[in-house]
Amino acid sequence: MKSLQSLTLLFLLVNAGLGPVFGAGEPVTRNGLRAQTLSTWEGKYQFADEIVVNIDGLPPLHTFQFRAQSREGDLIVIGTILQNETVSVLIDADTNRKGVTPIFEGIDALPDSQGADILIRWRHPGQAGLRSVDRFRYQDGKLLKVMRADLVVQGGRRLWVRGSDVIESRPALRASETTSP
């Protein structure tokens, strides 16, 4: 019974797009990755483009872009190409975002003697033109999230603030409750 529950949960997670798509570090063939269909609450995403970022002294980073038909928003998978056209996935697609999938605007590298900082720029759909930047550390064959910054509108002006991937939320009121949270 417990096995059945676990199987059911796994099924739900996969169906809801909650689980990892490829799994960081998991090998997948290049063509196999391109052939994948990714899903979010917004719909299905197909492979659209592969961008290669060549960095002095480091293995090139390959960014695989997935797009939904007739709408903005990109899911990206970043990896390095191993022998036999195998992709070592370093950053997996975020198919479980609790927001609208943003538009991938570009990827930049700032190499140093040990590795490189990787900046990924996003624009968020909407009239405010919200943006964010993810900063990763690319070193020793890994790509680790360092920080995130968000361009927000505050008091009628656009302002860069330190961002977070952690959603801080509060429970909603039950209808029978009368106090405001």
């Binding site: 739900l12 809801a16 909650l18 609450w41 917004e42 007739s70 709408r71 903005e72 975002r97 609790k98 927001g99 609208v100 943003p102 538009i103 624009r123 968020h124 759909p125 909407g126 009239q127 405010a128 033109g129 919200l130 964010s132 968000d150 509108v153 505050q154 009628g156 002006r157 656009r158 959603i167 801080e168 939320s169 509060r170 429970p171 909603a172 009121l173 039950r174 209808a175 409750e177 405001s180 949270p181």
Partner: protein, 478 residues
Amino acid sequence: MRTRTILSFIFAGVLSSWLPASVVNECNNSVCYVKKVVVRSFIQCPDYGYQTTFTCEHYLNPGECFSLIDGVEGGNCYHYYSIESVTWIPICGIVGSISGLPDTICANEIVNVTANATGGPLLQGVAWGGDALVLNQSANNATVRFPNGGTNRRILAQAAQGQATPAQATTQAIDIEVLEGSTLKSAGDIVRIDATAVMPALKARLKNASGMPGTVEWKATIVFDRPNRNDTNAFTKTLAATATWDIAAEFGSNFYGGTVTVEGKHTAASGATSQSCNPFVIHIRGLNPTVQVLETYIGTTPWYATPICRHERAGDLQFNVGGQEGPNFLTTDLKNTPNRGGDQIGWGAFQLTYLFANGRVPTTTEVWSWKANVDTGKAHLTTTCHSEAAAWIASQEQQQQNEEPTMPLQNYIFVFNGTPFQKGTARTPVDACAIQRNNGATSWVIYWKNKTTTTPGSWEYVPAQTGYVDAVCGRIAN
């Protein structure tokens, strides 16, 4: 006095009879000659004991007779004439041609023209016809321009005397007039999209073009490049030179504003083409509706459209209310130019920026027509924003159903700036998310927090993301 008058007639008759027939000029083999007649005058004033003689030269045109009439001058003086000599002088010949005047010029364009003669030098040189303005003139060369434009503007060349028919060249002087309806506009004027969102009825035509041959290739270029717009739209039309170009008809149902430059290139019947002449610059600006008219047009569906518009336009309307109106939309003259928000990317009443699922930027029509801006703003809300919000909430309800079936969404209230949102009421969680989506839903304000092995699932709202929904809810009342 009567005696003197009679005497004058007697002298005239006598003197005329003295003139030999050969004094009349002639042309021979297309070469004109003129008779130079040297006349001696003798004036005698017996009352004053005064008398004097002098000579002067007269030149006769072909066929002209020379007559001298002795008579009484003022002060009781008598005037007698005698012909001292008559000689033939081949002074001019026929003026052959005028060069330097193209078939078509621009009004006010400065043109150098030269009169070329045969049979002798010019004595009079270049003259002018119509309303030509001569800037410099020598014997056979002139610098001219036609300040008012028009059909068949003439340059003449003729000799002094003896030239029966001057050589002549004509040109079409091109000048542009711009009208709003039937009202002539001056260069630099401002015309306005009216408060009911109707484009000005711009037209163009050539000045004084009645009967002008040839065609005109018209072009109107409208530029509005205030950041972040880079709008340049050009319209062209080829018409008869006498026709009026209905520029506004080229716009169709689209709206444009900014700086308009109208140019016309005339092609004469000979095929010669002028340059684009005297570009005519005029400015299009826009007039706002009243707030009441605007909000009546927005209507009440969806209910949050008007509060969003109130929040977005931030005191202005489709066009800027403050400042001064003028030609410089980039810096000093912002009044009646499209309302660009403090974020410098949104335009108009709804501050349109990135629209619909494909994120397109607003069109010129959405920037310059308040009705189009409202139509698109509402369409964006009711399609993209509402449909995505509905899909989001549906996905979260599905997860809730899977994880915690006893916690349906309708049992929960989400309060933004004092305004409650509850499924099944007039203001729903989908509405809240749709409002947020208009601005941007980096993280949705409402979501189902999935259960973990240690905590149950729960309906949550995200305080860090509620600013826009709070602000819009704050504008529900006004």
